[in-house]
């Protein structure tokens, strides 16, 4: 029997008010955050500090040394290669992603392209360089096969190991990356928007001009910026293809850090790295802003 005023019910203890509790689900993220702190944030700090450090203490000489023709050339080349490979990769990748998005959602094309892009977007470095050297290198089998038929792709010199060659090779992983990044935006385009456009008197041109185009533009631009950053920071593929000179910034940094010919200059290397960090930071900030807009529209 329960006496009035003495309910025989024990209520659960209320959580303590005030004071913040550490969210336990963050524990799972701690190893990753630690990893990022050690191998991204710490090196960034080292680069920033090192760029302003000389043998006798703080200095701006590393920064002023950036104003040399070969350094500027390296930056211009890096920007050109990154821009060109990003644009080619963005256009080709967007077309491929559109083909996938407009096809059967459970079809073979989507499954094959999605799986292949997941792998190929990470395909770079020595293996990728070797694949191109073996096929269209100066003694590559496709080059020789074409040569036997009177077509010399290197009649004006072996461009594979120069900047145009890097653009071609980078495109190999830029296109799959574009597909991976842009496909969700295309999937977010609703068929009702085209039908609404048509019922309101618009045609295909109006749909792309006023609806799909503006909706996809931020996603496309954002993905292009990501591709730019991807190419701008790529090192291993270029290093495997190019063995001489300082054609692009990552190779120049490597040379200034590891040169055995007296050109070792860690301070300049860190100043170059700081320049790269700034450029990538600007690009990634723009990317994040565009992504935010895209996610609001194309949920």
């Amino acid at each position: 029997m329960i006496a009035a005023g003495h309910p025989d019910v024990k209520t659960a203890r209320r959580p303590r008010e005030g004071g913040r509790r550490f969210p336990l689900h963050w524990i799972g993220a701690l190893p990753f955050l630690l990893y990022v702190a050690l191998f991204l944030l710490l090196p960034t700090v080292i680069v920033v500090v090192g760029a302003f450090a000389g043998k006798d203490g703080p200095t701006l000489s590393n920064i002023t040394d950036l104003n040399q023709q070969f350094v500027l050339n390296a930056f211009v080349s890096s920007l050109l290669i990154s821009t060109a490979s990003a644009l080619v990769g963005a256009v080709a990748g967007a077309l491929l992603a559109y083909a996938v998005a407009t096809g059967n959602p459970r079809g073979v094309l989507r499954r094959v392209v999605s799986s292949a892009c997941g792998v190929l977007a990470q395909f770079g470095g020595v293996t990728l360089a070797f694949a191109f050297i073996a096929t269209i290198g100066s003694v590559g089998f496709i080059r020789l096969w074409l040569q036997d038929r009177g077509i010399d792709i290197y009649s004006n010199g072996v461009w594979l190991t120069e900047l145009p060659g890097l653009v071609l090779v980078y495109t190999y992983f830029q296109i799959p990356l574009m597909v991976l990044v842009f496909l969700p935006a295309l999937d977010g385009i609703r068929p009702q928007w085209r039908e609404a456009t048509e019922s309101l008197g618009g045609g295909t041109w109006h749909y792309w001009r006023y609806v799909a185009g503006p909706l996809l533009a931020p996603a496309f631009l954002g993905a292009t910026l990501l591709l730019f950053a991807n190419a701008f920071s790529a090192y291993a593929t270029a290093a495997a293809l190019i063995s001489q000179g300082n054609p692009i910034v990552p190779i120049a940094i490597s040379n200034f850090l590891t040169s055995e010919t007296g050109r070792n200059n860690p301070g300049l290397a860190q100043a170059l790295a700081l320049g790269m960090v700034l450029i990538v930071a600007i690009v990634m900030t723009l990317y994040a802003l565009l992504q935010r807009r895209t996610s609001r529209w194309l949920r």
Binding site: E195, A196, E198, S199, L200, G201, G202, H206, Y210, W297
Partner: protein, 370 residues
């Protein structure tokens, strides 16, 4: 509100509703028949609701009128003009979709003005007309909001304003309320009807919600397997269903075994008139509405075919739905709440069947138990 319509030039004097005819429309998808010779004539300014379960062909019918799909055969005639072969953007139809059809990168007024832009209406006139249409749907103060800043109901109002802004000949509504919660749905349903009556536009409304169809339409067409089972005013559809499918799809129905004899059906000792008095004699299942089931005046709850125990009562407001176990079958009765509450669960009750005309189904298995 009326002034907004007049200012927008959308009154019936400017563009009266037109007749819309669907003539023997057929459509198949990969061997499945979606529409099987659908014919329907909508009077100018009429609102017809197509009602039916998923896959019955109602949305296909609407999309054929819109031109979003092409019929295998048959014609769509709008205002005397055969539009069957015309593309959607030449048909002069306004359409409201289920949900998510507003362009998310445009504000409410830009959405509403979009169709006018497609028709090359000048910028100032566009802005003015879009503002008036937003006033018409009660969203005058929301012109500069984007879709993600509007509730679901508000988004659908903007979609309605957008569809009406182009002064279409026909308004097509494809389950426009299905993504909304019940309260908003009921309010917007009334709002759509008010606007439709003010504008006087011929409207085809597709829904699977019987309450919605009965509440909003001048006539309701109940569809099954690509065909119209019955087309008529809501009261007729409910009280005089033409087929067992309509009786069971629209409203709740008790299936009670009985025997047809001489134009009546005898159900558990009660003779009920038939909707089809020429039905052949024999076993049948009578389809009896819960409203036709009442508590008997006779207080005797001794054994009898309509005596049972109340097992549940669902409160619906002014009325309640009482479930009574008659031993071999449970039966639903819809009664005034005051009457239902006097007989709580566990009470023995005697029921009576009001002699409304009933429809029968030839369900041999059930009838065999009569």
């Amino acid at each position: 509100m009326t002034s907004a319509v007049a200012a927008a030039g959308l009154g019936t004097a400017t563009r009266a509703g037109v007749e819309v005819r669907l003539e023997n429309l057929r459509r198949r998808y990969a061997g499945v028949t979606a529409l099987d010779g659908l014919s329907l004539t909508m009077a100018p300014g009429e609102l017809v609701a197509l009602l039916g379960p998923s896959g019955c062909g109602k949305t296909t019918a609407l999309r054929l009128v819109a031109g979003l799909e092409q019929a295998d055969s048959g014609r769509v005639v709008v205002g005397g003009e055969d539009v069957t072969g015309q593309p959607t953007n030449k048909r002069d139809v306004g359409m409201v979709f289920q949900a998510y059809s507003l362009f998310p990168h445009m504000t409410a007024w830009q959405n509403v003005a979009f169709g006018l832009q497609m028709r090359k209406v000048g910028a100032s006139q566009r802005r003015q007309r879009a503002g008036e249409m937003l006033e018409l749907v009660g969203l005058g103060g929301f012109a500069n909001r984007f879709a993600h800043q509007l509730s679901g109901g508000q988004q659908q109002r903007v979609a309605l304003a957008r569809a009406l802004a182009i002064q279409p000949k026909v308004l097509l509504l494809d389950e426009p309320l299905s993504a909304l919660d019940a309260k908003v749905r009921a309010r917007l349903r009334d709002e759509i009807r008010r606007v439709q009556l003010e504008v006087g536009i011929t409207t085809l409304f597709v829904t699977h919600d019987q309450e919605e169809a009965l509440a909003i339409a001048d006539r309701v067409g109940v569809m099954q397997s690509g065909r119209l089972e019955q087309l008529g005013p809501p009261t007729t559809i409910y009280s005089r269903p033409a087929t067992p499918f309509v009786a069971e799809f629209v409203g709740l129905t008790n299936r009670l075994a009985g025997v047809v004899r001489g134009g009546d059906v005898e159900v558990r000792g009660t003779r009920l008139p038939l909707v089809q008095p020429d039905a052949a004699d024999g076993p049948a299942v009578a389809l009896v509405r819960p409203e036709a089931v009442t508590f008997a005046n006779n207080e005797d709850t001794g054994p009898g075919p309509l005596v049972g125990t109340v097992i549940a009562t669902a409160f619906l407001g002014a009325t309640s739905r009482v479930t009574v176990d008659l031993g071999d079958v449970t039966i639903l009765a819809q009664l005034p709440t005051s009457e239902a509450s006097a007989h709580p669960a566990g009470t023995r009750v005697r029921l009576a069947l009001r002699p409304d005309p009933v429809l029968i189904a030839r369900d041999e298995a059930a009838a065999g138990r009569a």
